[in-house]
């Protein structure tokens, strides 16, 4: 199995997500499991306004990259190949935005 990060870009702040979408987020690992994939880690991010960027020694407010869609969450997915990963990632509920699937470099940065 290969590992992919699924980056969720969303225009709607996490606290404003409709209940139905929240419920689908909570059920996402199970639904991906049914497809033969596996979610190994997941993070939901506070809104953009809470972000602080550090570039060299310079500390500024705001996220590193300003886009209309905001990086709202990330999860790590184990899948056979890109097609399998895309099939799993398509299950991600999004109100307005989309997801990006990025293969992870094959070394462990998280201790076992």
């Amino acid at each position: 199995m290969a590992q992919y990060a699924v980056l969720i870009y969303e225009r709607v702040a996490p606290e404003d997500l409709p209940k139905e979408i929240m419920d689908r987020h909570l059920g996402l690992p199970d639904r991906i499991g049914e497809l033969g994939g596996k979610v190994t880690a997941g993070l939901a991010l506070q809104p953009n306004e809470t972000a602080t960027a550090i570039r060299g020694d310079l500390v500024t407010d705001g996220p590193f990259v300003e886009t209309k869609e905001v990086l709202a969450g990330v999860y790590v997915l184990e899948a056979r190949d890109l097609d399998h990963a895309l099939a799993c990632a398509k299950l991600t509920p999004v109100v307005e935005g989309g997801v990006e699937v990025r293969p992870l470099v094959g070394f462990q940065v998280v201790p076992d």
């Binding site: 290969a2 992919y4 890109l82 293969p103």
Partner: protein, 389 residues
């Protein structure tokens, strides 16, 4: 050969090296022992064996040498997909929607058709190092993102076949009218696109759009010899010698068009093929069934709302309702701006103006078209029209 070897290595560069190595071995062995009965099979076997050794070697290193146990690297099993064909798997890999369309075409040309990177760069009008870098990036994405060497599953197939068909159509078009250079046609590209379309047809006999694309390419191919005169000058459809069209190819295309239009809701390649086939069936330009062609363009425009289709529809409209009506359509397209830089728009406009006797305006449009063409044969054609306008 490459396609069969890739299945072992799952790495395009390694597979290409193994294939090259097989050719080297063949040069030595065949000189000594004579050419084997089935040279292709011999080469494939050797390339796959070399590749398998490479994979084993890597596995041993990975599992650390001290163990000194040769791990059992089995050949990957023959896949149980609906279409067990290595070449088709490679085509679908090259045409994966996760790759940029230009990379899809470039990879298909390079890996499936074996076209040299320099020639691909030439077709795309970019320097060779630029194209080499694009191909390398695409190969890296295939490896890093693990784009599978597989024909997509049944539910993904319709969407993915349409990408493959688009690439084959572009491949054929790139050869049909070379974007630059001294010759109008690049036969190696049109020939390979046609071969691949035939292969898809064999493997997906029930797909109406595959039938449509193959029919479309066949009609173009049937008319190929008459597109230029003996001096290599471009001939318009109305000037071409219809007796020299390949009637067997047109007949084959006709049968495919029927399948493409009756096997389900018509797709864009089926309708395009039907239009091309109507042109091919007509005994002469004036006797062409223009009202039917116009009706087909209306269908096509709904399926594929492209400004290029709208422009072609305008040309058919001119034949049904006269040049004035078509000029009004073209004026609307000019306002839209999406065809700015498309050399066939001023060329079509020039022709309509010329037919109306508005020669000064026609000359201006011919000059605009001339400025947009990089192909010597097209330029000569437009220059000749300009002097006649």
């Amino acid at each position: 050969m490459l396609a069969a070897t890739v299945r072992v290595t799952r790495d395009l560069d390694e597979a290409e090296e193994a294939v090259q190595d097989a050719y080297l071995q063949a040069l030595k062995r065949w000189a000594a022992d004579g050419v084997p009965e089935r040279p292709g099979a011999w080469l494939t076997t050797v390339a796959r064996r070399t590749a398998l050794n490479g994979v084993r070697h890597r596995e041993v290193l990975r599992r650390k040498l001290p163990l000194l146990v040769e791990p059992a690297v089995a050949e990957p099993p023959e896949p149980a997909g609906p279409i067990p064909d290595d070449r088709l798997r490679l085509v679908f890999t090259c045409c994966h929607p996760a790759l940029a369309q230009e990379a899809q075409i470039a990879l298909t040309l390079r890996l499936v058709c074996g076209v040299a990177t320099a020639d691909i760069a030439h077709a795309f009008l970019v320097p060779e190092p630029t194209m080499a870098a694009r191909i390398t990036r695409a190969k890296k994405k295939i490896a890093a993102a693990r784009i599978p060497y597989a024909v997509p599953s049944a539910e993904e197939l319709p969407e993915r076949v349409s990408v493959v068909l688009t690439v084959l159509h572009l491949l054929y078009s790139a050869g049909h009218t070379a974007a630059s250079g001294n010759d109008l046609v690049r036969d190696e590209l049109t020939g390979r696109a046609l071969d691949l379309a035939r292969m898809l047809r064999t493997l997906l006999p029930a797909d109406t759009e595959v039938a449509g694309l193959l029919a479309l390419l066949l009609v173009h191919q049937a008319r190929r010899a008459t597109r230029t005169d003996d001096a290599g000058r471009l001939l318009r459809l109305e000037e071409q010698d219809r007796t020299r069209w390949d009637t067997a190819m047109v007949a084959e295309a006709d049968r495919l068009v029927v399948e493409a239009l009756t096997g389900g809701p018509p797709g864009r390649f089926g309708v395009q093929a039907a239009i091309a086939a109507l042109h091919a069936q007509a005994p002469g330009y004036a006797e062409t069934d223009w009202p039917q062609i116009l009706a087909l363009y209306d269908v096509l425009l709904r399926l594929w709302p492209s400004p290029v289709v709208a422009l072609n529809r305008a040309v058919a409209l001119a034949m049904v309702e006269g040049p004035e009506a078509a000029l009004a359509e073209i004026a609307r397209l000019e306002v839209g701006g999406r065809l700015a830089g498309y050399r066939y728009l001023p060329a079509a406009k020039a022709d309509l103006l010329h037919r109306l006797g508005r020669d000064a305006e026609a000359a201006e449009a011919y000059r605009a078209a001339l400025a947009l063409s990089d192909n010597a044969v097209e330029q000569e054609f437009l220059a000749a029209r300009l002097s006649g306008a």
